[in-house]
């Protein structure tokens, strides 16, 4: 019971903290719309990470408000009009900072928890 509860809390906290970096990383590759971002996170994480609409879109709007991403209306691959997001210069800098921070953080955790990769 305790493990499940604590696991949920840690997982939620990690998910919440990493969503911004994940979105920025995916937009670094190419401009994308919200649905595509959600699907890519799910696919590339092997279905480990899934974000609800109530988390994903507010995160996108917050990034846009802070000037890290830029939204614009364009045509998707199927020819339908979609609102797509692309990374701004400030977004690239923020992504670099977050990657560096994540590396430092995960290395520190690994050293203490003695996590090794097979």
């Amino acid at each position: 019971m305790y493990n499940t509860y604590m696991g949920d809390i840690v997982a939620n906290a990690l998910k919440k903290g990493s969503l911004e970096m994940l979105v920025l990383a995916l937009l670094e590759e190419a401009p994308r719309h919200g649905y595509e971002i959600g699907k890519l996170i799910e696919q590339r994480s092997g279905r480990t990470l899934r974000f609800h609409v109530a988390s994903l879109y507010p995160a996108l709007y917050a990034l846009e408000r802070r000037g890290l991403v830029e939204g614009h209306w364009g045509l998707a691959g199927n020819g339908r009009k979609r609102r797509c997001y692309r990374l701004t210069r400030a977004g690239r800098r923020a992504l670099a900072d977050q990657r560096s921070l994540w590396r430092t953080f995960s290395n520190a955790i690994n050293r203490i928890a003695k996590v090794s990769y097979a």
Binding site: Y35, V53, Y57, P58, Y61, A62
Partner: protein, 547 residues
């Protein structure tokens, strides 16, 4: 395909954002739902189930809406909050309070429960009394002049006003009783007490009270006011033998009536002070009338008659004279009991009667008239028993009234504070939330304030009802209260609990404020701290749930 745009609009409700931005967001979320629907169809899911799956992506519409608006604004949205009181309920509560304000009794309750904040005593100030006197002199109003003459501390000025009042209306001659003894108010050597005594006694020759007052200066020249001492003090006998005091007292005891002018004074107070303030009515009514004689003098004279003069006459064989003396005391006791202003004057008067009847019984026994003696003894015993029972019952009643009035006073204080706080909160709510026409969601400090104050109108209504019900037994108008005793018994305990403190009538004036305010203030602070902590906890729980 279903109209997903309409469904998304319904789920989200109105977004408090710029219209173009709100439309963009709705369209974007509609595309999200449509993509989900297409993907579900592609997986072979039936259309109805695919629709449901697609819409389920949005989750709780309210949570999504709050989350979107919070992201767009960069601050937490506090109002409207699921736990906030709906706007319609707030307006309804405010409307009900406004309707309550139309009830005169409620307005009186609100005004009078907060009047105890004033550091002034409820009696009229000397300056106000002077103004009343000036007004009375200008308009030739004997009532105003007489009222000022009774209550002004400056005795010389008061006697001058009394002269004016009596000239205008001789039925006010009784106010001259104030100047006969002059024990309770500051004295002024320029006031001719003997002249006032003659004047009042001549105007009211059958009344014992002014005669007793006129005898007091001689009595107090031997026995100081409030002094304790044996009832058979030889000084009293000497005073009666060597001065006119004994004759004056005898005349007073034989007077056919006893009236300390309490009812006349009450009528005057009611007509002048009662209309602007019932507090003042209680305050002035609680004071004794201008012609309440010192009971110590009465008691000592009665003891002299029944303990010395009567027995001496008996020993000299003047039985008729002794019986007359005792009978005189018994009759005076009965008259004093009839004319007493309140129970605590009535009971000592009954004690006089009882002791006189006991002396009559003993005399009858000594003369061999056992039947008469038994009858007097029975009367004496019954008077004693009735006096004890009345005293016990009165004390019990007074204690019960005092306790209930004290509780009501504390409750009214608490409710009055809540009314004031809630009124301020309601104003803040109206300013902060009521004027937000375009943006029906509030974040930051305004949202926090609006969330908290959305409870204010309900609290205001509740506190108003509590205040009204707590005060309702004490909201009678002066016209409902026909005697001083009625005012004193029905309303005085309540107001005294305000003025002196609900739990300890012996506390000083400022201590009573601290007592009254300590718990309401402490409770309000505790509610504030707990409420804020609860709100923060709720928001954190909700945020965790949304993620």
């Amino acid at each position: 395909m279903r109209d997903f745009e309409a469904a998304v609009r319904r789920t989200l409700g109105p977004l408090p954002l710029l219209p173009e931005r709100a439309e963009e967001i709705i369209l974007e979320l509609t595309h999200q739902v449509e993509d989900g629907y297409r993907e579900a169809l592609a997986r072979g899911v039936p259309a109805a189930q695919a629709e449901a799956e697609a819409m389920a992506q949005l989750g709780d519409g309210e949570a999504l809406r709050r989350s979107i608006v919070t992201s767009e604004r960069g601050e937490k949205v506090w109002w409207p909050h699921p736990w906030a009181v709906p706007r319609a309920v707030c307006w309804m509560a405010l409307a009900m309070v406004a309707a309550l304000c139309l009830v005169p009794g409620f307005r009186r309750a609100l005004g009078e429960s907060t009047s105890a904040w004033s550091p002034d005593r409820p009696g009229l100030s000397q300056r106000t009394l002077e103004t009343l006197a000036a007004k009375g002199a200008k308009s030739h109003d004997a009532h105003l002049l007489a009222f000022a003459a009774l209550h002004l501390e400056d005795e010389f000025e008061a006697s001058r006003l009394a002269e004016q009042a009596i000239t205008l209306d001789p039925s006010f001659t009784w106010i001259g009783a104030r100047f006969i003894a002059g024990e309770r108010l500051p004295k002024d050597a320029r006031v001719d007490r003997v002249a006032w005594a003659r004047r009042v006694c001549a105007w009211d020759p059958e009344n014992a009270a002014p005669r007793l007052l006129a005898a007091e200066p001689l009595f107090h020249s031997v026995i100081p006011a409030g002094a304790q001492g044996p009832a058979d003090d030889p000084q009293i006998a000497r005073l009666a033998e060597t001065t006119s005091w004994g004759e004056q007292m005898q005349a007073a005891f034989r007077a056919p009536r006893y009236d300390a002018y309490g009812q006349r004074r009450f009528e005057l107070v009611r007509s002048v002070a009662g209309s602007p303030s019932r507090e003042a009515l209680v305050w002035y009514s609680a004071q004794l009338g201008p012609a309440v004689p010192d009971f110590l003098q009465v008691q000592r004279y009665a003891a002299l008659v029944t303990g010395k003069m009567g027995p001496e006459a008996e020993r000299a064989g003047r039985y008729e004279q002794a019986a007359g003396l005792y009978w005189n005391v018994a009759q005076f006791g009965a008259r004093m009991e009839d004319g007493a202003e309140w129970i605590w004057q009535r009971l000592p008067a009954r004690k006089l009667e009882q002791s006189a009847y006991a002396a009559l019984a003993a005399l009858a026994e000594r003369r061999g008239n056992s039947e008469e003696g038994a009858a007097f003894a029975l009367i004496s015993q019954r008077l004693d028993k009735a006096r004890s029972e009345a005293a016990y019952e009165q004390a019990r009643l007074l204690r019960a009234r005092w306790q209930s009035a004290g509780s009501a006073a504390a409750l009214a204080w608490f409710a009055a504070c809540a009314v004031l706080l809630a009124a301020l909160g309601s104003i803040a709510w109206a300013v902060v939330a009521g004027r937000q026409r375009g943006e029906r969601m509030l974040g930051g400090w305004r949202g926090t304030l609006a969330m908290g104050t959305s409870y204010a109108p309900g609290l205001l209504l509740g506190a108003s009802c509590v205040l009204y019900s707590a005060m309702s037994p004490y909201l009678g108008t002066p016209s409902d209260l026909l005697t001083r005793e009625a005012v004193f018994e029905e309303m005085a305990p309540f107001w005294f609990s305000y003025w002196r403190g609900a739990w300890n009538p012996m506390t000083s004036y400022w201590d009573s404020y601290a007592q009254h305010m300590f718990w309401p203030v402490l409770s309000s602070v505790a509610v504030l701290i707990l409420g804020t902590a609860l709100l923060r906890w709720m928001e954190r729980q909700r945020a965790a749930h949304v993620e």
